[in-house]
Amino acid sequence: MSQNIKVTKRPTYTLKHALYLPAIAAGVKVTFKHFFKNISDINAVATLRYPEEQPTDITQRYRGLHRLTHRQDGSVACVACFMCATACPSNCIFIEAEERDDGVDEKRPKSFFLDTLECVFCGYCVEACPCDAIRMDTGIFSLTGNKREDFVMDKEQLLSHKGVFSEELSRARF
């Protein structure tokens, strides 16, 4: 049994360790190697030059800006069940429901506001939605505006966002 055990010698505290200076020299060697490698060819550095170079590694699971999905007939898939607003930890979803009288369903949102300044992009609303009406698959990672009101998304804005990965329509069976 003992032949399987590999005994490693503990490092002894020698004069070389007590002096500190060899260790400092080794550290400086490492940093200087990186420094010299990068200064001789700056374009080899993997940093993304952001505004000119856009990220290419946004995957399907990336939580970008929200959107509301559509049904087959193009109407909003949301049934105003308030599940997302309940699940939201930062209370940033404000829904006002109204009765739906076109016979497709019973309820729909009259207004749907999402305050992206309060949103923490946790994705709980997507998890909570029973009819796949809200998704975060737009791939939009940068959101800019001039005033606070620009960041409060209303229903039309959320409906106008396009998904970039999966199908456009809601997958819920109505």
């Binding site: 200076l21 400086v28 990186h34 420094f35 030059r49 000119e52 170079e53």
Partner: protein, 431 residues
Amino acid sequence: MSSSAITVVIISFTLGTLLALLTIPILVWMERRVASLIQDRIGPNRTNIFGFRLGGIVQSFADVVKLLLKEEYYPAHITTGRWLFMFAPIITFVAALLAFMAIPFADTLNINGEMLRVQPLPIDFGVFWYMAIGAVGVLGVIFGGWMSHNKYALLGAARAGSMVISYELPLGLSILSFIITYNTVDFNVMVHFQTGTALGFLPAWGIFIQPLASIILIIALFAETNRNPFTVAEGESEIVAGYMTEHTAMKFAMYFMGEYVAMNTASAVIITMVFGGYQLPYFATEDLLTHFSTFAVIIMIVLPLFIYGFIKWMQKNNRVKETLSSDGGRAFETRFFTIAFIVMGVVLEFILLYLAFISQSDLERSIYIAVVQVAIFVMKLMLFNLFFIIIRWTLPRFRYDQVQTLGWKYLLPLSLVNIFITAIVVVGASL
């Protein structure tokens, strides 16, 4: 005083002020770029003036402008003594600036028989000056920390004060062994001592003559200037930002810039005392003057190679990846500086030609040598500042008790032992 003496004094004073003040943005830029390059990042390179970004130096000027224009804000709990709260950073800054002024930038100029020092303050006790003024800087830290009425600031100030007291001793004692070896307190004579060779093949620099004292000096100066690994006074993992927690805008900038001036001064002192100052290794000023033509021809050969290498490096690195469409004016900047450097090189070549073969005036030659020495000094200064920065991004911070242990239990006895050995050797050699 003759007019040439006044000219030399004014020029050297301007040079000293420029070297101390203009290196601040360059050092801040170096700190950020070197840090990012060490960590495989790029660092600030976007700020520009009409497309000229100079590798990102413009960012430092933009930062200074930003800090200047910020609101002068005083914490509400500081009721009495706001003037001292505001005055404290100035003490640190001015002390660091004054301490720099005793460094010689070139050899003593001989103009028509007058010996003129190229030193902002032409004093012959520069070591004492540095030790006296360098310790004043910490007073600003202590005043600022106390006036903040803040636990963290108070702790930072107490740490800075006790660290200065514990590291002033090894610093003074190691400087003492240098004084015994060089037999002078004059920086200029110290540099003269370090020309020539030791043991036949090494340049006679302090680090080869007094290795232990040199290492103690460098460590103690790292501690004096509050640089890593001795940043316990502003250890942000323990005490927020230490003594500068409550300081904002220009007051913070004063502390910040004072730190860089102190670092610059420490590098200058280390170079002057340990690394041969403004002298080229192996060659004294007299050698250069007697073999001036050879020296000029060597420089005439080396200079174009250097400029060629720099231009090649710039053309390779001052551009963006091929995949990007816009280069933000980098191509124009590269073209401009290529032409500028070529013109500069040609002009320098012609000046060298004139000095080496046509003019036989000793005065012009000695002035030229002084200019070369200033250039060498600045190069050494920048290299050592780079060393300071690389050390900062290599080592983690010491714990506070480890700092004190290192100072009192190791460096102090070591420097005392070194003084004894030095004294025995010096007395033995004189017998």
